[in-house]
């Protein structure tokens, strides 16, 4: 197709001032996907990081322009595949807002529980991958053991493990599995027991702390300016939880704390995510015994048509604020759709906070930014 060497810089030559220019990615163990960073180094110290994106750009925005409002939901699972459920919820919420569809209470509560399970699953995977970035392999397996329980619950209820596509405009595609409640309770019980293992293996570990404390410090001002959201911004002391600011589904009736740390370093980002998992467990515990009976899907027309106008819906995914912006011309398909993905903005801060640190720190910083590449590329 095109000349690869044009894009991937020749790594055998030195930079203009004798710096090393190395390509971290597109295939690199620490980039978790096909992120490509061109890193300019002075010895071990990073002078500049330049992200090159687009290795898995599928142009989802263009694709959605030719899909109907029922169909385009499934594509969004493929953006941030670790919080696919939350992405689907965002689309459904937008359509429900645009068409003023009444969503049954049961659907709202189930959606909230599933969203929080997804968030835990995503953070579990992140802890494992993050520890692996820092060279500890074992926490990955422990984290996956708990994540496996969540994917089993998803498989039972939604019929798929990763890209569920369980949310439809108006509610849920089908009712929850009869075992849903018992399984979620079993998971909550096991999670509470096993979460101390991460404390022993990772949080308290002196090597881990020295690797992350004071590394990749992001100030609150920069976090706002760079548009960071989610745990990344909350670790810097910016309150930005969409579940609190603009509650959707059943979030307005559950009690939970927005986890905020102030140091803004990699360790704070780690702690925010660990505490967030506990908050998610808290939300699930409040809701799991109180799933109201009734319909699981509201009344909708067969063919959905959004009125002419603009719609915006924000939700809190595991990585931050996902915004969906739809310009409708009154047809069955969106005229223009824009996904404001949290990863894209979070990535843009990488050069700012990792500059001047060591290569090892880059891995810690990049790990705690929790980048999911399909989310960035879209």
């Amino acid at each position: 197709m095109y000349n690869q060497t044009e894009i991937i810089k020749d790594t055998t030559e030195l930079g203009p001032e004798g710096e090393l220019v190395i390509n971290i990615g597109p295939q690199h163990p620490a980039t978790h996907g096909v992120l490509h960073l061109v890193v300019t180094l002075n010895g071990e110290t990073i002078k500049k990081i330049e992200p090159h994106l687009g290795y898995i750009h599928r142009s989802i925005e263009k694709m959605c322009e030719s899909l109907t409002y029922r169909q385009f939901i499934y594509v969004t699972s493929r953006m941030d595949y670790l919080s696919s459920h939350i992405n689907n919820t965002a689309c459904a919420l937008l359509i429900e807002k645009g068409l003023q569809i009444e969503v049954p209470e049961r659907a709202k509560v189930v959606r909230t529980i599933l969203n929080e399970l997804t968030r835990i699953a995503s953070h579990e995977l992140w802890i494992g991958a993050m520890a692996m970035d820092l060279g500890a392999f074992t926490p990955f397996f422990y984290a996956f053991r708990e994540r496996e329980m969540i994917t089993d619950i998803m498989e039972d209820t939604c019929g798929a493990r990763l890209t569920m596509n369980y949310i439809v405009p108006g509610g849920l595609m089908y009712d929850i599995h009869p075992d849903f409640q018992t399984k979620v309770k079993a998971f909550v019980k096991q999670f509470k027991e096993k979460v101390t293992e991460y404390e022993d293996l990772v949080t308290g570990n002196i090597i881990f702390q020295s690797r992350t404390k004071g590394v990749g410090v992001l100030t609150a001002q920069d976090a706002i300016s760079y548009g960071c959201t989610g745990p990344v911004a909350r670790a810097s002391g910016v309150s930005c939880d969409m579940r609190k600011i603009a509650p959707y589904d059943a979030y307005d009736r559950v009690e939970f704390d927005e986890v905020i740390e102030t140091t803004g370093d990699s360790f704070a980002r780690y702690i925010v995510r660990v505490k967030e998992m506990n908050q998610s467990i808290r939300i699930i515990e409040q809701l799991i015994d109180n799933i109201p009976e009734g319909e699981f899907v509201g009344k909708t027309k067969n063919v959905l048509k959004l009125a002419k106008g603009e719609f915006y819906q924000r939700v809190e995914t595991a990585r931050g604020e996902l915004g969906i912006y739809i310009v409708s011309e009154g047809a069955t398909t969106p005229y223009r759709i824009k996904f404001r993905s949290p990863g894209f903005s979070n990535l843009s801060v990488l050069n700012h906070i990792a500059k001047g640190s060591k290569i090892g720190d880059l891995m810690a910083t990049m790990g705690t930014l929790d980048l999911v590449i399909p989310d960035i590329d879209r």
Binding site: Q71, E155, N205
Partner: protein, 158 residues
Amino acid sequence: MFLKDYISDVVNGVSSLLKGMRKTGYYFTHSKEIITEQYPDNRATLKLADRFKGEVVMPHDENNEHTCTGCTACELACPNGTIKIITKFDITPEGKKKKAIDAFIYRLEMCTLCNLCITACPSDAIKMLPNFEHSVFDRSKLTKILNKPGSKIKEGIE
């Protein structure tokens, strides 16, 4: 003071490391914690969720009859053009022409298993099967015709 800090640094560091080693040591000595699934060997006991979305199938009853009317609702609902329905006209015993499916072409390689076709179907003619072992040596084998040869529509389904 400096010496005290130094020593407490060392002691805290070492104890945090030992804590981690205790945890891994526990798992090393407890083989019942192993969670490995030996997949091809455990086929017999492998239990898949009954809702698992594996592939689209068209159930036929013992008379080789299905309930698909050929209304193409699934074809329209599909986001990727996975389903193609070719219709034909049957002659009913009364001599009337009746629309029926000739071939329900399902391309598994393009399917994202989103379940939209199943929900769109008005006569429950297709369903998802919890089957995930789809690998074949030739891609053309993934293009399937779901209605069995010689099958016809069940009486009374419009």
